[in-house]
Amino acid sequence: MLTANHLSHTYGSGAGAHAALADIDFTVEQGELVSIVGPSGCGKTTLLRTLSGLMRPTGGSVTFHGDEIVEVPTGLAMVFQDYSRSLYPWLTVEDNVRFPLRRLHLPKEELRSRIDEALAAVGLTGHAAKYPGQLSGGMQQRVAIARALAYRPEILLMDEPFASIDAQTREDLEDLVLEVKQRFSMTIIFVTHDIDESVYLADRVVVLSKPPTRVVTILDVPLPGERDQISTKELPEFIRLRGEVARLIRHPRDAQEPVAAAAG
């Protein structure tokens, strides 16, 4: 569905040039949730920006349904890492969620129900009339998530969406992502720092190296489809996988051998 072909990106040129992405190759299939983990500053946001069509990569290409991406395609949405700046401070919470929907020309009732459902899903029902400036960071982040959910994209890119959310809410939102993926057969690319989260959510985990950034490995996650915050995390398979991912991030070379078989 979405493919990165020898994707590379260098910021600037000459002496000040910074090769953020060296060579990235992977494919995300329809209905899959792929999580992307990698050391801080390795270019995860850069990668999502090129995948979304916000920015042309300096090398290689991205295709969506077989067509090369040159602008943001229809059916794609993104939750930005810098969520607070991506909300419109002059619009209420509800109007922020409504804003991208106008273009879809939905019937009135559906518009209403999408907004209400999305706000309820992230636990912000009582805050619809507030302005983003009146909310905490975690609540703002949930507004940004609700906005993307109400839009119902085919593919959703999320850039460390739960970074500023407390542990309990975070688990609820992780389960919400899984539920949304099921219900709307949404394809999701999920960038995270959190190794447990990357394994818990994903069908596959893409592990990135330090810059110049390459794909270290792509791990399959053969956990049962129905996941549970407690019992899934107790499975020997889960424990093995999180160990694997942690090792790959710390020592990409040492870990390469035993994982080669699982690489996708």
Binding site: S52, L54, E71, V72, T74, L76, A77, M78, F80, D82, Y83, S84, R85, S86, Y88, P89, W90, L91, F99, P100, R103, Y131, P132, G133, Q134, L135, S136, G137, Q140, Y151, S164
Partner: protein, 273 residues
């Protein structure tokens, strides 16, 4: 909890400060009035150049209930407001478009740099030739003078728009015109409003100047000119001038209040990391 209390404390102390400022302002004005009164009563300044201040204030008070005077004031306000409205209608769209397209901006800036330094008073003869001595002449000068602060503030506002706000619009494929009206404009609105407030003061000044210098048939400036030409009533000339100053204060106060209401979303402390 402590954040809330500290915010409340801040708000209260802010109000106290504002109260203090008004208080000190009143004291300052009272001292100035008293000094002026003393200067003319003691004979230090001849009463033919500076009439006793209490008399001037009395005349100013009478002006507030003088229908023929208020008609003149209305003519002035009408010209200023019309000019300001036209200037806004020109400057905001122009600023939005020029602010968002760098190339267009560079092309236009040569023209702008030439036009901007021309003082509007220097255009009075041209305006009289083109529009006569009536309201049209005043309005055209007001438009010329007040277009600039609105235009430049709009451009600054558009350049200041959060890049991620624009990228968010791109992600959701918001059409360009809608981005202009629903992202760039509201985001730049506080800047635009400041521009309009600055322009409103200019509009008043230019209207009254044009009335004075062009010998208009009506308006506050024309009234002051009439009072002064007979050499008749110095106190009334002072009173008219004080009235013009008060008018400027009231307009500024109204616009500040309007901005506070309109941009309430801006004043909430952003709780985000």
């Amino acid at each position: 909890m402590s954040a809330i209390t500290s915010r409340m404390v801040r708000k209260q102390s802010g109000r106290r400060r504002a109260g203090g400022r008004v208080g000190r302002g009143i004291v300052g004005v009272a001292v100035a009035v008293l000094a002026a009164q003393l200067l003319s009563v003691s004979g230090a300044i001849s009463p033919t150049s500076l009439p006793p201040m209490f008399e001037v204030l009395g005349s100013t008070g009478h002006l507030f209930v003088d229908p023929s005077f208020l008609r003149e004031v209305l003519a002035t306000i009408q010209a200023a407001v019309t000019g300001l409205a036209i200037a806004t209608a020109i400057a905001v769209p122009a600023g939005l478009v020029l602010g968002s397209f760098r190339l267009l901006n560079q092309a236009a800036s040569a023209v702008v740099e030439f036009l901007r330094p021309i003082p509007s008073v220097a255009l009075i003869p041209l305006a009289i030739l083109l529009f006569g001595q009536g309201a049209q002449m005043k309005v055209s000068l007001v438009v010329y003078a007040s277009v600039w602060p609105i235009f430049f503030n709009t451009i600054y506002g558009v350049r200041d728009v959060e890049p991620l706000a624009k990228e968010t619009a791109r992600i959701f494929r918001i059409p360009p015109l809608r981005v202009l009206t629903h992202v760039l404009l509201p985001s730049a609105a506080p800047f635009v409003a400041t521009g309009i407030r600055v322009a409103a003061a200019i509009a008043l000044i230019v209207t009254i100047s044009a009335e004075l210098l062009a010998g208009s048939a009506d308006g506050l400036g024309a009234w002051i000119l009439r009072m002064s030409s007979g050499g008749a009533n110095l106190a009334l000339v002072y009173a008219g001038t004080i009235f013009a100053g008060l008018l400027g204060l009231v307009v500024n106060w109204l616009l500040v209040r309007g901005e506070q209401r309109l941009f309430r979303w801006r004043r909430e402390g952003v709780g985000a990391a």
